[in-house]
Amino acid sequence: MARALINIPQKAKRGEIIEIKTLMSHPMETGFRTGLDGQLVPRDIIEKFVCTYNGEVVFSAHLYPAITANPFLSFTTIATESGTLVFSWTDNKGETQVQTASLQVE
């Protein structure tokens, strides 16, 4: 898989609700299109997205082919303590890509 962009504030106040935006570079090939050879292009999509915050799952999503190429996801979480957020994207072949971001809570 490829690159992901993660937009998260570097610092937050304790108890503040922060918005997290992620953009993953991925074709999200639906498996419904025919290629130039007349054959169906095999499905290649990200099916599962998980975000953990210091080890605890705070958000996850199950995606279907109706989600656009380069899937964009935005969600919120409460800034509880300084730590690491781990983002993982898993495709339908079982391959997972992981990225992390750190958050400082004051």
Binding site: F32, F59, A61, Y64, A66, T68, F72, L73
Partner: protein, 147 residues
Amino acid sequence: MTTTRRQFSLLAAGASLALVAPARATPEKMKVAIDAFTGGKPVTEGRVKFEISLLVENGNSVPLSVLVDSPMTKDNHVTRIGIFNEKNPLPDVAIFHLTPRSGRAQIATRMRLNDTQFITAIAEMSDGTYFSAKKEVVVTMPACVEE
């Protein structure tokens, strides 16, 4: 029984239609997908603020956002948000799992639209009730047409 010429041509037409017509979700299929999500429980309209363009030129990327009216406490929060469509090849779009640590029941993403259709957003509450909102989106150039 011998097959008459007419029967044969009808059969052939039917078979080729079945081959050519791509599988598509229908309002009925969307209902089945929603029932699978809710376990057949009743869904009440309201509490869900669903934002999506009413008219889009390009169905390849349509931004949408959902905000559910919920205190998001341990005892009273949104557990899942599901997005469903009527006319894409599959009725499901995405299912989001939220937790009390979400703070706010708010998500945003971008979806493909194959045709003008109703999109439904359903929120599952921690007490097992379901709330929904639906929007009709007019699409002038559907997704899935270009190769």
